[in-house]
């Protein structure tokens, strides 16, 4: 029984991590007022780049860095278009996802079905041998610990640091932040690139740890779910954690039910996370006041200093 619960928790942690990584990145971008709908595309490009680089070099560390750079590179395309050339953020984000789908399947065309290297589990000595707590808390790969470190770091940065205050100011009123002399566009570039890097990291977690391989479109909507999570969390880091683990749980559940052999068609069970996303969005958004109070006021708007 204990063994079952242990493996359940370990699986949920694994399913939640990519969501939390990607959503943390998007949170920072949105807090700076940038709505990047290209998370799915950035994750795909991160996943394939990380996989290919790890395969070629044999080093998962290099693979992870390459994935972060690839995600950030995708975000750079988005930033140039929306921040410098003032294109519509919604349309550009969509373009980024469409491009990412095609580009990732091109990059990975010779790697489909290739058995991949896997990110090693840290297995912290002594601690990881403790029954139950060992595997649940101390037996994971580095990215899982990193996802928590980054989320906590993000929360501290946003609400306890001066730079975080400026970032939030840029997201809430770019005109006021500009008038105070803050470099709105530069800050937004930084926030968007961070978001891209995190999406790349989320992607490489998928292709090196969650299901160590490359398959076309393997992110399967997780980028979009991460976007929904930011709304669900009402742009607050703690609730981002709750949401990511809630959805990780639902994703695991839909896999688990399929494995049980219950006579429920597996295709319909696979729809659970998407249905859950809609349900959660509805529950959160119906409180218009809460959304209005927490949503960065300049979210999605272009900024051009006319002066």
């Amino acid at each position: 029984m204990i063994f079952l619960i242990t493996s359940l928790l370990v699986s949920i942690i694994a399913a939640s991590t990519p969501l939390m990584l990607a959503a943390t990145g998007e949170l920072i971008a949105e807090k700076a007022g940038v709505l990047n709908l290209g998370v799915e595309g950035m994750m795909l490009v991160g996943a394939v780049t990380g996989f290919v680089v790890t395969h070629l070099t044999g080093s998962t560390t290099l693979g992870i860095f390459a994935a972060i750079l690839a995600g950030a590179g995708m975000a750079l395309i988005f930033s140039v278009l929306t921040l410098t050339v003032l294109a519509n953020q919604i349309a550009t984000g969509l373009a980024l996802t469409l491009f990412g789908k095609g580009f990732s399947s091109l990059l990975g065309r010779n790697y489909v079905g290739v058995a991949g290297p896997t990110l090693p589990k840290l297995d912290i000595p002594v601690l990881s041998t403790i029954p139950f707590f060992g595997p649940v808390l101390f037996g994971h790969d580095a990215l899982i610990y990193l996802s928590f470190a980054i989320l906590i770091g993000t929360a501290w940065f946003l609400y306890r640091s001066h730079a975080g205050l400026i970032l939030r100011a840029v997201g809430d009123s770019h005109a006021a932040a500009h008038a105070l002399g803050y470099p709105v566009i530069r800050i937004r570039y930084a926030a968007t690139l961070f978001g891209g890097g995190m999406a790349g990291l989320a992607g490489v977690y998928m292709s090196l740890s969650y299901s160590p391989m490359w398959a076309e479109d393997m992110v399967a909507g997780r980028g979009w779910i991460a976007l929904a999570l930011v709304v669900f969390a009402a742009w607050r880091p703690f609730w981002l954690f709750v949401g990511a683990y809630l959805f990780g749980g639902i994703m695991y559940l839909s896999l688990y039910v399929q494995g049980l052999g219950i006579p429920v068609p597996s295709a319909l069970v696979s729809a659970l996370p998407y249905l859950g996303t809609i349900l959660v969005l509805v529950l959160i958004s119906r409180d218009r006041r809460r959304i209005r109070m927490n949503q960065p006021a300049s979210l999605g708007q272009s900024f051009h200093a006319t002066a």
């Binding site: 709908l37 789908k101 095609g102 909507g221 068609p265 051009h304």
Partner: protein, 363 residues
Amino acid sequence: MFRIEPRGYPSRFWSLGSPILAIALTILVTGVIFAAMGQEPLVAVYTFLIAPLLEHNGLAALAIRAAPLIMIGVGLSLCYRTNVWNIGAEGQFTLGAISGGGLALTFPDAPAELLFPGMLALGVIGGMFWAAIPAWLRTRYNANEILTSLMLHYIAGLLLVYLVTGPWKDPHGFGFPQSALFSSTATTPIIVPGTGVHLGCALAPLLAAIAWLVLNKSVLGFKLRVVGQAPRAARFAGFNEDRLIWTAMLISGGLAGLAGILEVAGPVGQLTTTISPGYGFSAVIVAFLGRLDPIGAVFAGLLLALSYLGGDAAQIDLGLPNAVTGIFQGILLFFLLGCDLLIRYRIKRVRPNPAVTLTGIAE
């Protein structure tokens, strides 16, 4: 250095010039990508964009590919003009195919005069129904239609998988995930014999023309545009914003559903898991490339259709993956959105002020 400054009013020249510039830049970059993949760039671009048209029945193939893209793109143009971001057209397309296809599979022996119109009607209703969900969630619960419509596209896809692997699976299909072939009374009529050009190819430009009239010459179209451009003005004028959101979503969903049923009853001929190579998403590009104008969507749909044909040709003739299509479409949208800057802004060359530079050095 360059600086961008706002124009007093949008440039007419660039609102038409921008897509043309964007297409040119896209072809250029595609050539560079081909070169990076070890191809002769000019040959590859020729294979991708020109050769498909010169083939036997090339224009017919183009029309067949363009029909769903134009139909969906027209609907999305209307929707985006209203500032309603339906990006789940792929799902509405799928549901149209499922609803109409379900009728075809249930009554394969019904007379064609009844069955086919019934399928079209159900296809439209199916698409509308799938678009009504995000409309309802947006107007009633304030839920973001981008995310809900997108999530619904995944659900529609899984529903289709369930149907063609379960209750609607062809018992004689050797286990493939597909339904039985539609009966001859349930097929989209061919209007040019021997080419495969079907009813949808004629319907698409016709619907575009009607949509253009609605958008530009009717009170409804005026209201849709006002809600999209100036929601506050629309509220002062007493327009019912929720009803207009519903209208825009239902029109785009219905058109996507119609495209779906015409596609499965025509070129595909049955329900399978691969009824669309992403028409619903490419149609987003069609809408933007067509300047969110229904007539523009016709031309844009033809170009995007060409990129699908080109992807197939690149795969067959050059051994390239047909993911090239997706890359071409993505880059096209990037450049298009980028070039649109020129409509509202002008780029000015700023000469560095020598005095400032000198002081800079002195310090």
